[in-house]
Symmetry: C3
Subunit: 618 residues, 3 copies
C-alpha cells in the first residue's frame, strides 16, 4: 500500500514546491493528487491555456519521486464558461437554477457542458497523459456532493424522456409498469412525462425510482466519457474516482465498472456528526468516529470495485470544517485509520490535504501542515503509519467469513418510500454490518449479483428487489442465511409482486410476507431478554417462529438454513439472531468490548481499539 496526499501547488508560492515535495517523501508519501480544482488556472481565458505552472509543478513532484494522480478539473468550471451557457447550471427540486460561486455547478444532462468537460479532459490528458510522473487519473471530484446528481432542468427532462422511451419501448408499457391508472396519471406519449418534482403530493414512487435510476445513469455516462478519453490518450494509468461516505445518489456498482480503482473520501468525525448516530455515540466517539464508519465503507467499496481494487483518496487528518461540530481526532486516530484501511485492503491512503489553505471555503479544514507551513499533529502520525506498513510488509488475503448484500436500488426504494420515518436499506445494512463486526468477523459487502462461495454466513438486511442471481446463489448456498424486512417485496419497477413476494424468494423463505407495519421507536417489542422495534413483517408459510415476543409478535422465523428477521435489523434481538446464525455456521466469533474491532488477513489479526486509538496485531 502507498501513502499519498492531496496537493494544490496553485495555492502556494512556487518557491515552496520543492520543499513540500521533499517533506512528502521524507515522511514516506509516494503519491500526490493534484489538479482537480485548477481549471481557472489551466484555462484562464476561453481557449487560452496556461500550462507552464502546472508543467513545473508536475516536474517538481515527479523529480522528488512522487507518483502523480492527476484530476480532471470538471467539478469546478470557471465563471466565463458558465456565463457562456448559463443553462448548464443544475436546477433544484423547487425548479430554481443553482448558482456559481462554489463547486459542482453543472447539470449532468446538459450537452453543452458535457462537450466542454470532454474538451478539457482531452487537453489535460494530452498534456500529461504520457508523462512518466503521472501514474493515475481521478475523474472530476465527488460526484453528487452537495446534492448534485439530481437536476430538474429542461435538459434533464428531455433526457429523462429519451431514457424512458429507451427503457420501456412504449408509453403503454410504462403506464402499466408504474400503475399510472391509479390517479389518472396515464400518459399518451413520452413527451407528456414531467420530472417528479413539485407534484401536489408525492409522485408515483415508480416515477421517482425511474428518475433516480436515470440520474444515476447520467453520472455514469458523464464519467464514462472522461474515462474513454483517458484510456485513449493516457493508456496504462489507473483511472479512479473518489466516492463519499453514506452516499447513495448514484449506483456505485455501476460507476466502478468503468474505473480501475474505486476511491473514497474518509472523514469519520464529520460523518459521526452529520449522520444518524445516537447522542451517546456522538459523545463517546466524538474524536474517533463510530468504529464501523470507516470499515463499512472500505468493505462496501471493495465490493463495488472491479477486481476489488480500491483506495482512500482523501483521509481526514484533523478537524474538518463542514460538520455541525468539528473536534480534533484523538491522538493516534490518523495512524489507526490509515492502518485500518490497509487491513481492509486499500491500495493507497491519501491524506486530504498537504497544507491547510488560509482562505476560502475550507480554511478551517486541517492538513498535514498548518497554514503557516509547520507540521500539524497528523504529520507525524502519517509518518508513523508509513513505518508500520513497511514493517508489516505484505499480509495474507482476508479469509471469507460473512457476506452482506446491499444494492443501490434497494436504498432508493426505501428512501422514496420509507413507510416508517428513517427506515432505509443503507442504514439497515450499516446496523447489520455493525452487529457482525461486534462478533469480530470479516465482512464483505456485496452486490446482489455475486458469488457466495466460501462464506459461512450471508446477511441480506433489506433488499426489496431480489435479483435472479442472488436468489439462485442463496438457493445453492450451504452456510447460514439471515434475511431482513422488506426483502423480495418489489419488482424492478417498484410494484409488489403478484405473489406478494418474489417467487424464488418465496421458495427460499417457505412462504410470503402478507402485511408490513412500520413502528415508531416508542413501540418496543420485548422478548426474553431482548427487544426489537422499527418494523414488523407478518409472515405466512411453513417456517418456524424463532424469536417470539411476550405479547405474541413473531419477530423472526427459521426455515432450513435461513432466518427471516421481521423487525428492523437492529437492537438486541437482531444481535442474538446473528450470533445464532454465526454459531450455526460454525464461524468462530466473540462478543467484542465497546470500541474494539478486528480484521483478519492471512495469519494476522488486527485489533483496533477506538477508545484508546491503540492498534495491535496477533
Amino acid at each position: 500500500m502507498h501513502l499519498g496526499v492531496c496537493y494544490y501547488p496553485e495555492h502556494w508560492p512556487e518557491e515552496r514546491w520543492a520543499e513540500d515535495a521533499r517533506q512528502m517523501r521524507e515522511i514516506g508519501l509516494a503519491r500526490v493528487r493534484i489538479g482537480e480544482f485548477a481549471w481557472s488556472r489551466i484555462e484562464p481565458e476561453p481557449g487560452q491555456y496556461d500550462w507552464d505552472w502546472l508543467d513545473r509543478a508536475v516536474e517538481t513532484l515527479h523529480s522528488a519521486g512522487l507518483g502523480i494522480i492527476m484530476g480532471t478539473p470538471t467539478a469546478t468550471p470557471p465563471k466565463w464558461l458558465v456565463d457562456s451557457m448559463p443553462d448548464m447550471l443544475a436546477v433544484d427540486r423547487e425548479g430554481q437554477p443553482r448558482g456559481f460561486g462554489s463547486r459542482r455547478h453543472y447539470c449532468f444532462s446538459h450537452e453543452g457542458y458535457g462537450e466542454e468537460a470532454r474538451r478539457i479532459t482531452r487537453v489535460v490528458a494530452q498534456r500529461y497523459g504520457q508523462h512518466p510522473g503521472v501514474v493515475g487519473w481521478q475523474t472530476d471530484n465527488e460526484y453528487g456532493c452537495h446534492d448534485t446528481v439530481q437536476s430538474f432542468s429542461p435538459a434533464a427532462r428531455d433526457a429523462f424522456r429519451r431514457w424512458l422511451a429507451e427503457r420501456y419501448g412504449s408509453v403503454a408499457a410504462l403506464n402499466e409498469a408504474w400503475g399510472n391508472v391509479f390517479w389518472s396519471m396515464e400518459y399518451r406519449s413520452f413527451d407528456e412525462i414531467e420530472l417528479p418534482n413539485r407534484t401536489v403530493t408525492e409522485a408515483n414512487p415508480a416515477h421517482w425510482l425511474a428518475f433516480r435510476r436515470f440520474s444515476s445513469d447520467q453520472v455514469i455516462r458523464f464519467n464514462r466519457a472522461q474515462v474513454e478519453i483517458l484510456r485513449e490518450v493516457s493508456p496504462g494509468r489507473d483511472i479512479m474516482h473518489n466516492a463519499m461516505g453514506f452516499y447513495t445518489g448514484y449506483d456505485h456498482h455501476d460507476l466502478a465498472q468503468d474505473l480501475d480503482v474505486l476511491g473514497w473520501d474518509s472523514y469519520p468525525l464529520g460523518f459521526l456528526e452529520m449522520f444518524r448516530f445516537t447522542e451517546e455515540e456522538e459523545r463517546d466517539f466524538a474524536r474517533q468516529g463510530h468504529p464501523d464508519i470507516a470499515a463499512f465503507h472500505h468493505d462496501l467499496y471493495r465490493g463495488c470495485a472491479k477486481d476489488g481494487r480500491w483506495n482512500v483518496l482523501e483521509q481526514q487528518p484533523g478537524p474538518v470544517n463542514w460538520a455541525r461540530y468539528n473536534p480534533a481526532p484523538l491522538p493516534g486516530m490518523v495512524r489507526l485509520w490509515t492502518l485500518e484501511a490497509f487491513a481492509h485492503g486499500a491500495e493507497m491512503v491519501s491524506y486530504f490535504r498537504w497544507r491547510q489553505f488560509p482562505k476560502a471555503q475550507e480554511q478551517m479544514h486541517a492538513g498535514l501542515l498548518r497554514p503557516d507551513g509547520e507540521p500539524a499533529p497528523a504529520y507525524a502520525e502519517a509518518a508513523s503509519a508509513g513505518r508500520d506498513i513497511a514493517d508489516l510488509g505484505a499480509v495474507g488475503e482476508a479469509p471469507k467469513h460473512a457476506a452482506l448484500i446491499f444494492s443501490y436500488d434497494s436504498e432508493w426504494i426505501t428512501q422514496i418510500q420509507p413507510q416508517g420515518e428513517g427506515r432505509s436499506a443503507l442504514w439497515a445494512a450499516f446496523s447489520a454490518y455493525s452487529s457482525l463486526r461486534r462478533l469480530g468477523v470479516n465482512v464483505d459487502i456485496l452486490p446482489p449479483e455475486t458469488e457466495l462461495d466460501g462464506y459461512s454466513l450471508v446477511v441480506v438486511p433489506c433488499l426489496p428487489v431480489m435479483t435472479r442471481g442472488l436468489a439462485d446463489a442463496l438457493k445453492r448456498f450451504d452456510g447460514e442465511i439471515v434475511v431482513g424486512p422488506r426483502t423480495g417485496t418489489r419488482d424492478t419497477d417498484f410494484a409488489i409482486p403478484s405473489g406478494l413476494v418474489d417467487q424464488e424468494f418465496a421458495d427460499l423463505i417457505g412462504g410470503k410476507i402478507v402485511r408490513s407495519e412500520s413502528l415508531s421507536d416508542r413501540l418496543q417489542i420485548a422478548g426474553d431478554g431482548w427487544t426489537a422495534k422499527g418494523w414488523l413483517d407478518h409472515y405466512e408459510g411453513e417456517a418456524e417462529p424463532e424469536f417470539v415476543a411476550g405479547s405474541g409478535e413473531v419477530c423472526s422465523y427459521r426455515h432450513g438454513n435461513l432466518r427471516l428477521c421481521c423487525t428492523w435489523p437492529q437492537g438486541s434481538m437482531f444481535e442474538r439472531l446473528v450470533e445464532r446464525a454465526a454459531r450455526d455456521a460454525g464461524l468462530p466469533h466473540e462478543a467484542l468490548p465497546t470500541g474494539i474491532r478486528h480484521r483478519t488477513c492471512g495469519s494476522t489479526r488486527f485489533t483496533f481499539d477506538y477508545l484508546t486509538a491503540q492498534i495491535s496485531f496477533d
Copy 2:
C-alpha cells in the same frame, strides 16, 4: 346503516369483477363507491369517451345487488387537459406553480378548469344519472387534501379582488374594516390588492382572514356547480362529499348546505401519528388511535350536515401509507370503529378500499383484500360488524346531553393569529370534547347559529367571533354554560370590538376581557389539586372568581349559569370545571377509565374499550 367499500374496477382484470362483487355481498356490503379517479380511462383523449368498461363495471356491481356511489373524477384531471391550459395548476405560497404527477392539481379559481370540471361532471351524470344501480354521487374527492384550497395564482388574485369588491362595496370600507392605515397599507382601488403571501413580515390578519374566507367560498362554488348538474341530470340520488380529519381549509358548514349527506374519511391511526398528540398517547393508542379521534369527527360532521345526514366514506381497514409510522390496527379495531360510527348515527361506513393495489402512491395502503386477492384481517371484521349491526337493528335516537360550539372562522382566526404557538380553536374544541367524553356523556358539535333547546350543558371552547344567533341562544339557555378563552373578542373582520368584547357577550359574562396572555407550557398555573396553562384572559366585571391559583391568577369565573374559563380549555382545572358544570346541570356523568368511551342511543348505551377493542351494549 349500510356497509360499503371503495372499489377501483380499472385496477383489476375484468374477469375478477364479478367475483369481487360476489364477495362484497357475501360479507354484507351494500354500497360501493367507484369512479372518482378514472378520468383518464373515461376520456383517454380529449373529447373521446370510453364508456364501455365502466358500463360493464356498473352493470356487474349493480346486478350483484350493490348500490353504487359514483364519483365525479375532477380531483384527477389527465395530463392532456393540464397541457392544454398549464395555468390551471395551483400556485403555492412561494408563488411557484405546482405540478402534474399526483392529484388535486388544479386551482379552484381557474375558470377554464371550472368549465372542464362541469363538462366531465355532466357527461358522467348523463351516462349514469338514471341508472337504477346508481344510488348516490360523490363530488370530486377530499377537497383541500395536500393543502390545495389556497392558490396564489393570477386567477385567484383576480377572483379575490372581485370577491372583495362584492363584500365591501368600496375600497374605503375595506381600508377601514381592516385598519389598513396601520402601516400605510391603504388601497386606492380593489385592483391594488394582492394576495397575502410573500409579504415581508406577516400580512394584515384581516387580509388573511378575507383570503381564507374567499378560498373557502371558491371550494363551495366549485362544488355547487357539480351539485347543480347532478341534481338536474340525476335527480333523486344523494349527493355527498368526503371531508377529512382535523381539516379546516374550507367551511364545512357551508359545504354541507349543498349536499344531502356529508361524508368523511376516518383514519384514526394515521391521524394519531400526524396530529398533535402526546408521545404517551402515540404509544398507548398506536394501534387504536386516540379514543376521541373518530367520535369527534362523527359528532362534528353530523352537526355540519343538513338534516344531520352523514356517513364514513372511507374507513381505515389496516395500515396506511402516509403517516410517519404506519402500524396495523389492533385486532377488533376495524369492527369497533364501524360500530362506533353506527352508534354516532352514520348512514354508512365504507371501507377504503376493497383490494390493495400493488402499484403507485398508495401501494402500502391496506384494503379488505391483500394485493394477491386474499382476505386481509379487516375482511372478517367488516363481516362481523355487519352481523352486529343487523343484530342490533334500529337503536333509538341519541338523547341530548352536551352541545359544543365550533366555527370555522374561529379556527381561521386562531390559525392566522395564534398569539401563542399552537393555540387554535380546533384543538381547544378537541380537548374540551375529550373532557366531556371522559364524563360519559353524548356530545353534539354545533355551529354558532343553532338551537340549544334540550341540552343540559353548552360548551364554547374558543369562539373569537360571537354570532348574534349564539348570543341570543345562550341568553335564553337555562342549562349550564362553559365559555373558553378568546371568545367574543373579534368582529367578523378580525377587529377587537370597541368594548373589547362583543356587546351581547359582555352581557352574558357580566364584564369584559381586558388583557390576554399566551403562556408557554413551561408556565404551569397550579391551584388546589389542579393545574392550568396555555393562556390567561384577564377579566373585569361582576362575575365571581371560581378557580384561583395559589399565585393569585384567577383561572375561571362564574356568572349565573355561565362559567368563564380564562386558561386554555385543557388539563385538570378545566376537567374539574366541566365536571362541576355537568353536576350543576343535573347531567348524569361519571369519570371513565382510560380508553373507555360511551355513546347512548335511545335505551342502548354502547361502551367502547379502546385498550382492548371490546364493545358492549347495555
Copy 3:
C-alpha cells in the same frame, strides 16, 4: 431623562387627540414620537399631499407641551409607489421578490426608491422642520427588521460590483484576497461577480463577508441621505434611529456616526422567547426577561453612540404579539425597565405605544391604554417611574469598571463560519457580559477602536478581526485583560494571518493559536469544580496554563496581565476566570444572587431585582 410615547393620531378620531395629549402630560410624558408609518395619509395620491390632519395633530401635541419626534415614513411606502416601480421590492435569498402588504418592502440598493425616500423626507422636513414643537427626528423605522438588510436583487448585484471595484481596485486583488483560486472561482472582471446566494454549497466566506459589509454600507448610505436633508432643512433637532435587540444586520457603530442619538427598541419578554435562552431561563424570567437583556443593549448602544447619547425609542409596556408566547410583564417591571434605562444613562424612554390599535398586524400588542381607551397596567407604572426619576434628580456619572469589546464584523464572521453550530461573537459577548454583571460591576461595551483608560478590566470575548487600535490599546493597558477564543485569527478579508494570528496579538498572548476545535455541548470538559465546553483553541507559546482539565486540556492560559480563555466564554470555568481577573484588577465585586443586578452612578448604587420587580438605591 424624559419619558415619552409613540403615538399614531391617524389611528384615532381627531376628537380624541387633545384628551390623549392631556393624559400624556398628566402622567409625566414629555416626548411623543409620531408619523413614521403615515405615508399613505401624508401623500394619498402620487404628488398630492394632505398635510391638514398632521398639522392639526402636531399643533395639538405641541400646545399640550409635548416635544415631538417626527419619523420619516420611509419604512412603509404606499402601494401606488410600489406599483409605479415593482422592482423596488427586495429579493429574498432564494431569488424571489418579496411583496407589498406589511412593511419594509424596499431594496436599499434601488436607486428609484432612494430618490423617492429622499423626496418624502424633504417634503416632511420642509413642512415641520422649523416647527417649535418638533424637537427631533427619527429616520425610517428599525432598519433590518424582518430580515430586510440583504436583498438579492439586480440592483443590489450591480451596486455590489461597484462597491467591490471601489474597495479592491482590481479584480486580481480581490481574487488574491478571497483566495478564489481555491475552487476555480477566479473572476476576470468585477462584472462576473454574483451575489453569494444560491451557490451549490456555501460560497466563499470572504464573498459573504464582503456582501455583509456592502449590505451594511447600503443601510448607512440610505440613512445618511435622510440625515443630510434633515440637517439642512431642520437644523438643531436631534436625529435618531431605533435599533433593535440582538440584531447585527448592519454595523451600528457606523450608523451611529451619522446620528445625534442612537435609540433602540426594548422588548425584554419577546426577546427572551425568541432568542437563545435556556428552557429554565424562559420559565424563570417569562414575565421579566433575562436580567441582562435590556442592560446589555443599553451598554452596547451607549458604546456605539456618538458622544454616548442614546435612548429607548420603544419600551415594551405589556404583552407583545410577535413572540412564540406573549405573557404580560410582572407588575412593576415596566417601572423597573424604565429606571434601569435611566441608571444606564438613557436620555429618554419612550413607551410603544400610547393606545393599542384594535386592528391590523399589532392588534395584540399592548399600549399604555387599552383599545377601549382605558388605562392598561403600564399607564400607572409609567407615571410612577416618572415620579421616581424626578425624585432622583441627576445622578452622577457611572464609574468605569469593566470594558467589553465587540465588533460587528466579528459577529458576521462567526455567523458566516460558526465552525460549531451557534458559536457566534454576539452570544459570546452576551454571556461574558452576563458573567461580569453577576459580579455587580459596571460594564461598557466598546468598539475595537477605543480608549481603555480608566478601566480596571477589559474583556474581549471573541474578536476574530483584531484592529491596530485595539492591539495598541491592550498593549498600553495596565489593568487585567481577558481574551476569548478565535480572537485575532482573521484578517479583514477573512483570511487566516500568515502567522496564524495577528502579529501584534501574538505579542500580547506570547504565542499563537495553532488549532481550533468546536465541540458540541455533549462534550463537557471538567476541571476541579468547574466545567467548560463549546470550543477549544490550542495554544503554543510562553503563556502559563491556568485552568487545566482533569483530562489534560488546557482551557486557559495566563501571560502577564492577560488571560486567554481557550473554551467558549460561558459556564463555570469562565466565571471563575473572570472573577480572578476582577480580583487581580482590584475591582470590588461580589457574587450576586439570581435575578439581582447592580448599576452604580456617581454615589448611587441601583439594585434591580428581576425576581420581584423591586428597585432600591443606596
